[in-house]
Amino acid sequence: MDLGFDVVELPAPDHPEEGDRAPDFTRPLVDDEYWENTALSALDAPVCLVCHPMDGSFPATYIWNELRDRGFDNLGATVVGLSISTPYAHKRFIEDHDLRGTGFRFFSDPANGVAEAYGVTNALDGMNGVVEPRPATFVLGEDLTVQYAWVAREHPELPDYDDLEAAVVEAVEAGAVADAD
């Protein structure tokens, strides 16, 4: 993105890298009908975990419109979002962005503990007391092993969707091979 001026650089993140085991967590997971405490480790692998700015922000809209339009729900992975927004806001987000029927679900983490555990926090200038995840994507295989990790270094910066899609496809294929063994 060339804006003709420097965008804000974020501090270097300290996040789980490829081959690491991602931190497990349990948070309310919201679908188009209800929310329920769910452990990340209870989801069917591979999991595509997408941390995003709060629902209503333009990066959240861009990211999820893109994942929807690219058909990430048809890749064979479990696709879940995570933001500091409440379950009520996630429900609105699913409706407003035409995500019903995609199977995309959203973790609600208002206290931002997951982003802290993953080392991907972003304290928002001008919004005192509000800290949220920076955009970050993780593809997790069995046992939450990180197969792909990307974390924003600038504010704003959006995921590289081609890389993410390739990583998800690779993880799905690796899982299929493992199942066949």
């Binding site: 309310p28 209800y34 329920e36 405490n37 452990a39 209870a42």
Partner: protein, 111 residues
């Protein structure tokens, strides 16, 4: 884990699937009444929260035929039930001290 349903631990999906699902609304006193009873009998349950607007509660209607909460679905007995007073009575008759599936009776009789 024969008696995992009675450990009273917070239910985590994929670990010990609780037999009881409670559809509830945040801050709904009728729902909290059912929660108190579940805890009194040390029953493991999963909570599914729905929204205040009745029109947003299709999942509840599919289970019980109505859009009111609380609703419990008890896979152990095959019972699905609305109305907190009815639910409390059901839990008492099923899992209370004299209930037919009281913890001691259930443990003695297997899963």
């Amino acid at each position: 884990m024969l008696r995992s349903a009675y450990t009273g631990l917070a239910p985590i999906r994929g670990m010990s699937e609780p037999a009881i699902t409670l559809y509830r609304l945040q801050a709904c006193p009728f729902c909290e009444r059912v929660v108190r009873t579940l805890e009194e009998y040390n029953l493991s349950y999963r909570s599914r929260f729905v929204e205040p607007l009745h029109s947003k509660r299709d999942a509840v209607k599919r289970e019980s035929g109505a859009r009111t909460v609380p609703v419990i679905v008890d896979e152990r007995t095959g019972v699905t039930m609305s109305e907190s007073a009815n639910i409390v009575t059901y839990l008492e008759n099923t899992y209370g001290e004299e209930g037919r599936l009281a913890p001691e009776a259930a443990a003695a009789g297997g899963s």
